[in-house]
């Protein structure tokens, strides 16, 4: 079957000036006005992918969106006239009463079915004249499907995931101004609860939406002295004087430094606070899934001092 391209006529008629422009050299069929209506198809060339019916999928089709190339309008992908078929630039639906097999619409085919192609027509169109039946072996393809996972990723990118604050106790300052904690004391760590909250965002395209949920699962504290990280299920508990100086954190969000930091660079340690997040999504299509987990981190540098030194020093 000859491969033809219908897009050329559409694009050529979009020329905004009153004077038409000569058709391209690759034109395979002109109309009486000198406008190209069928352009030679070059495999892989920009402009679209020809299908078995000889029409073309415009290369500019954006997944999940529908547009009428003649008017340039973004239009619904579904209407009472069926689903939008970019290759034919019309809404298509199965013709309820199939014409007899001898009808030329079948073109000699005995398989497939006859569909109604309803063009998007602006005001002033004659009712009923913008409908055109055509044969197709299979239902003509609608707009490129929207991948809800892609939408979810788009939604995620719209979110600003908070980094943890670096709450800690003991948290005094040495005479030289360096912050410190105390050897063997329960060093509480926490993050502002506002940084440890579920976030949601939604993105939609072409009538499909996906909502992403970003849920914090843990606050980890890497003490910076070479010991393993301490994992805390929540944001931790902010220390208050009523808790006392030597008490452990009621939520387990603490770490006891066994040694001073005198042997560390600058006689300090750098602790890392990390909030770990899981990311899941649901879509209006009923699909759901997960995206790779996230982590946001802040650091805090302080000295680990011997308590006695504090008393005597």
């Amino acid at each position: 079957m000859k491969v033809v391209v219908l897009l050329a006529v559409v694009l050529s008629m979009l020329i905004p000036t009153g004077a038409a422009v000569a058709a391209p050299a690759s034109c395979q069929q002109y109309d009486a006005r000198g406008i190209c209506i069928v352009q030679t198809q070059t495999p892989g060339a920009p402009g679209g992918q020809a299908d078995a019916t000889g029409s073309v999928t415009p290369a500019s089709v954006v997944p999940g969106t529908c547009s009428d190339q003649v008017s340039g309008q973004v239009i619904p992908c579904q209407s009472d006239a069926g689903w939008w078929v970019p290759a034919r630039q019309c809404y298509a639906q199965l013709q309820a009463v199939q014409p007899p097999q001898r009808s030329p619409i079948w073109g000699g085919h005995t398989d497939g079915a006859i569909y109604l192609c309803t063009f998007y027509s602006g005001p002033g169109a004659f009712p009923g004249t913008a409908v055109f039946p055509f044969w197709a072996a299979d239902p003509p393809a609608g707009p490129p499907a929207v991948d809800p996972a892609v939408l979810a990723a788009q939604a995620l990118s719209s979110l600003e995931i908070p980094v943890p604050t670096t709450g800690r106790y003991p948290s005094g300052a040495l005479p030289d101004g360096r912050p410190y904690t105390v050897v063997n004391a329960y060093t509480w760590f926490w993050s502002d609860p506002a940084t440890f909250d579920t976030l949601t965002a939604r993105a939609d395209s072409g009538g499909v939406w996906a909502e992403v949920s970003v849920v914090p699962t843990a606050l980890t504290f890497t003490p910076g002295d070479g010991a393993a990280a301490v994992v805390c299920a929540g944001p931790g508990t902010a220390w208050a004087p009523a808790n006392g100086v030597w008490a452990p954190s009621p939520t387990g969000c603490d770490y006891r430094y066994p040694h001073s930091s005198i042997d560390e660079p600058a006689e300090q340690v750098t602790a890392a606070y990390t909030i770990e997040w899981i990311v899941s999504w649901t879509a209006s299509t009923g699909a759901d899934g997960v995206l790779p987990p996230l982590a946001t981190t802040s650091t805090s540098t302080f000295a680990v001092a011997e308590a006695q030194a504090l008393v005597t020093g």
Partner: protein
């Protein structure tokens, strides 16, 4: 009353068409394509039997001016139904023309004037077919080269400005593939493909 059908030998018509094709037409009045004719007579006359190829050739040739006029009609009359194209064409040509007409109308363009077939020449004829071939049925076909004068065709937008391509040549030389979707039904010939080229004359 005796009624006798007389068939004009189409082989002569094909020869005439071929002879026409060799002529420059730019200074000539448009010439209608020869077609098979039937006449009624009260007196007995000899009956000439045409071969299937001759019949197919004549029928395909007869379609050409109708095809050109029908496409013109669609551009001329914005109220005409797009599926009228199926009276003279099948896909992919039918869809190509319907899409072009729809885009033309949607832009608010109007056509003035008509195309005129100047010459037609029959090429290859293949009446073998395979209706069950996949993916597309193989249909009996006749190749026709037609030279069409489009010099009288004008088109304007809603503001009255011409939308005819600048420097448009006067003629279109069309390589028509005409198929029969229900062979040997004489009324079932349709244009399936119609690539063309622009020309300043019908010569060559």
């Amino acid at each position: 009353m005796n009624r006798t059908l007389t068939v004009v030998p189409v082989g002569l018509m094909v020869a005439a068409s071929a002879a026409l094709a060799g002529c420059s037409s730019s200074n000539e009045e448009p010439t209608n394509t020869p077609s098979s004719t039937s006449t009624m007579s009260n007196s007995p006359a000899p009956v000439t039997t045409a071969t299937p190829e001759e019949e197919a050739s004549a029928q395909a040739l007869a379609l050409v001016p109708t095809y050109v006029a029908t496409i013109d009609d669609l551009f001329l009359d914005p109220a005409s139904a797009l599926d009228n194209v199926y009276t003279v064409a099948v896909d992919p040509e039918a869809s190509a023309e319907a899409t072009a007409v729809q885009a033309f109308r949607q832009q608010g363009y109007r056509q003035l004037g008509r195309s005129q077939v100047v010459t037609t020449v029959v090429g290859a004829i293949d009446l073998t077919g395979d209706p069950n071939a996949s993916p597309d049925p193989v249909l009996p076909s006749v190749q026709v080269t037609a030279c069409v004068d489009v010099g009288a065709v004008q088109a304007v937008d809603a503001a009255g400005a011409s939308v005819v391509a600048a420097g448009r040549p006067r003629y279109l030389v069309q390589d028509l593939t005409i198929v029969n979707i229900d062979y040997p039904d004489a009324a079932s010939w349709r244009v399936r493909e119609a690539p063309n080229r622009q020309a300043d004359s019908c010569d060559g």
